[in-house]
Amino acid sequence: MAWKPRVIVFTCWCSSSGVDQAGFEGFTYPPNVSTIRVPCSAIINPSLIVKAFEKGADAVLVTACRPSELRSVAPSRITEARVSLLRRLLKTIGVEEDRLRILWISSNEGGLFSREVSRILGEVERLGPLNIGGRMVEQG
């Protein structure tokens, strides 16, 4: 059957209510998206994103609260810096940096989330499978 990109989404507490709200209002988005809820986007360890790519994720999305309205500005700034640093690292070693993105989703933007996810899924499909596992097996 056709290859489907596998995407992991890390949502912080507020943006997870945004994601739930997407379903609540009937916005459908492709199924091969698995969400993991964490208290705050800054908890996500960049090594965990790297592990997700190694285990077969074709794209990883990190949703965070918009820096302006979040009650404490800081964590979103940290996540933004870490994601940008990791994107640069991925670009260096030949993994397209668009496979890792940060989305500013506040708790009432369900529609935005589903539109963004569908658009990103389309792009990732064009990029094709990442298959780190397969490419890392050395010869002989």
Binding site: G23, R37, A42, I43, A57
Partner: protein, 631 residues
């Protein structure tokens, strides 16, 4: 092998046609990691847990709707992992097949995480010391101490002056009703002095605060007063024989008192103190004192307090008018501040309540200049200082009450009379009594001939420029916290805003709390206020303290902890904590539980996860990610 119970909720069977629950059951009952699979139709019912017999199941994966609704049903999520198969699967997927596959994937992830969840986060049953500390004995502090004492808890008031009372004790009358300030506050002070639950520690300041909410260890340094408070009965014999005079800070340095003095008549505690800067140690007072209470070799003492909550009510200093050279305060005698005016107009003041100029002549023409150090981008503060318009109108009415023929001018920007009773009792009454309001911020004060002053101004309503000759100018000073406030905030671990006021946890949602759990604020220390609002906040803070003490035990939310052997002290986590909850200790770091907000930004900065937060480490999340990516 650890086992997990999987509970699937069909949301009153509405999800049955969206997700193939039988397939879910077969997939997970065959897995060796799952103890049993339960399918129920409404988990959000009142006692769903009991009916399903989940009491002793330990590790549970609940696949249902959004977890916010369910957390209440399951109580604090201990070893329970929530997976959303309604909003994110049933309602968000196109076909039943897709929704089922996604549900399987999400529950697999949930199972892997549930396997590795350790003891529920947060520390249970922390002991609470049901004693409070109020720093600052002004109206806010006293009001707060009284409310806490009335609720039956012990309170310490630490006051840097020899007596509690604060700024309100220095005022003559209070607006808007012009009732005598000390007559209102006096009874409160004496009740505070008498209340067996309240211990007043005067001449003292907080030096060091350690520990967490419910268990603060506070070190207080009591400055020497050279008079033993237990022996002194306030008879005043020593004052008669003391040869040395000194300016009295209570009277804004306008009325001299002896080196051994009591700040004001209604002082609580009514004890005499010696100001060693001026005392010449002649020893006359020692001979005069019948109870041998005086000891010139007194040393500062340290007092250790163990309290459960701290209320900061230290008030705020006023703007230093010398920073506005155009008003020549300190240079021209008759340019005085509104605090000095309060002492002069007050009966117990230096002139016995008669409004006299420095040279003794009565002040017939008085001008008030508003917003000195407020609502400006200069050395003052940007905000409006809230109290000064009302105070100046009150003082104007006092002048006219003392001397019918006096002429009073008020130079204002926007006259703010928004409080209860301010409009009629102050503003309209002033207009009736002939007070002249000029909308202008005077540019300069000049001295002319016989000591009277000339104010150069431009009336922005009429556009006319003019000079006004007056006998006396009163500067309405705004609030401006001094370095002492910033120093105290550093010792408490709380932050200050750009002007130096203490920063509340949240301006709207938590106005009386600070970022350190268990430390509250009341009064002008966290922003411009008037007496009414300071008292209100005193009671508000007291309510928060009593509700904290009312709890049987304390449960702190998840706070990060540092493992001592793993930590190398490199400090990379310090900079990631926006609440500054991580501090260096020796060559390691430590997390202040009462300050940590559980956001976890520090976890990823530590390369070996020496700093951990509940169940949010790689050990729990990596297997969940791997499980979700199994094809």
């Amino acid at each position: 092998m650890r086992r997990v119970t999987v509970v699937l909720c069909t949301c009153c069977s509405t999800l049955l046609e969206k997700i193939d629950f039988d397939r879910l059951r077969s997939v997970f009952s065959s897995s060796p990691l799952v103890r049993r699979v339960l399918i129920t139709d409404s988990l959000c019912e009142k006692n769903a847990c009991e009916n399903l017999g989940l009491k002793d199941d330990g590790r549970i994966v609940v696949a249902a709707c959004s977890s916010r609704l369910l957390e209440a049903a399951f109580g604090k999520p201990s070893l329970v992992e929530f997976v959303n198969i309604r909003e994110q699967c049933a309602w968000a997927c196109g076909s039943r097949e897709e929704a089922t596959l996604k549900a399987i994937r999400l529950v697999k992830g949930g199972v892997q995480k549930a396997l590795r969840v350790s003891q529920p986060p947060g520390v249970e049953g922390l002991k609470i010391t049901r004693e409070a500390l109020v720093i600052g004995g002004g109206i806010a502090g006293v009001r707060c101490a009284l409310d806490i004492a009335d609720a039956g808890y012990r309170v310490y008031i630490v006051e840097k002056e020899p007596s509690i009372g604060g700024v309100m004790a220095q005022l003559d009358k209070t607006f808007p009703t012009l009732d005598c300030s000390i007559c209102v506050e006096g009874p409160l002070l004496s009740e505070a002095g008498r209340n067996k639950n309240i211990t007043i520690i005067p001449n003292a300041e907080v030096v060091e605060v350690k520990g967490r909410v419910g268990d603060f260890k506070v070190r207080v340094r009591v400055n020497p007063t050279y008079v033993d408070p237990d022996k002194c009965n306030g008879c005043g014999e020593c004052v008669n024989v003391c040869p040395v005079y000194q300016p009295n800070k209570y009277d804004a340095d306008l009325k001299p008192v002896k080196a051994i003095y009591c700040p004001f008549a209604q002082a609580v505690p009514l004890k005499y103190v010696i100001n060693m800067d001026h005392c010449v140690e002649c020893g006359l007072c020692m001979k005069a004192c019948t109870r041998a209470a005086i000891n010139l070799g007194d040393e500062p003492k340290n007092v250790e307090l163990n309290v459960g909550a701290i209320v900061v009510a230290v008030g705020s200093d006023l703007f230093d008018p010398r920073l506005k050279p155009e008003y020549h305060y300190g240079e021209y005698e008759n340019v005085i501040t509104n605090m000095e005016f309060e002492r002069i107009i007050c009966a117990s003041g230096p002139t016995g309540g008669v409004l006299l100029r420095r040279d003794g002549k009565p002040a017939k023409r008085v001008a008030f200049i508003q917003c000195v150090g407020s609502r400006e981008s200069g050395p003052g503060i940007e905000e409006c200082s809230y109290y000064c318009c009302a105070a100046s109108m009150k003082e104007a009415r006092l002048i006219l009450e003392h001397d019918r023929e006096a002429r009073v001018f008020i130079f204002y920007n926007e006259l703010r009379a928004f409080g209860k009773g301010w409009e009629d009792l102050l503003y309209r009454r002033c207009l009736e009594e002939g007070v002249v309001f000029i909308r202008s911020r005077p540019s300069e004060i000049r001295r002319i001939g016989n000591g009277s002053l000339q104010i150069v101004y431009e009336d922005t309503l009429t556009g006319r420029r003019g000079e006004l000759e007056v006998d006396m100018v009163v500067l309405a000073l705004g609030f401006k916290p001094s370095w002492r406030m910033v120093e105290l905030a550093r010792r408490l671990g709380v932050t200050v805003d750009k002007h130096g006021f203490i920063q509340e946890a949240h301006a709207k949602m938590k106005p009386l709390e600070t970022r350190v759990r268990g430390v509250f604020v009341a009064g002008t220390c966290h922003g411009p206020r008037d007496i009414v609002e300071s008292a209100v906040e005193g009671s508000g803070a007291a309510a928060l303290v009593t509700s904290l003490f009312r709890r049987s035990s304390l449960r702190l939310p998840e706070a990060a902890e540092v493992s001592a052997e793993k930590c190398t002290g490199c400090g990379r986590c310090l900079s990631s904590c926006e609440y500054r909850a991580i501090v260096r200790e020796g060559d390691k770091v430590r997390v202040l539980e009462s300050v940590c907000n559980g956001c976890g930004a520090c976890l990823a900065t530590c390369p070996q996860e020496a700093i951990t937060l509940g169940n949010w480490g790689l050990e729990q999340l990596a297997p969940q990610v791997s499980a979700m990516l199994e094809d």
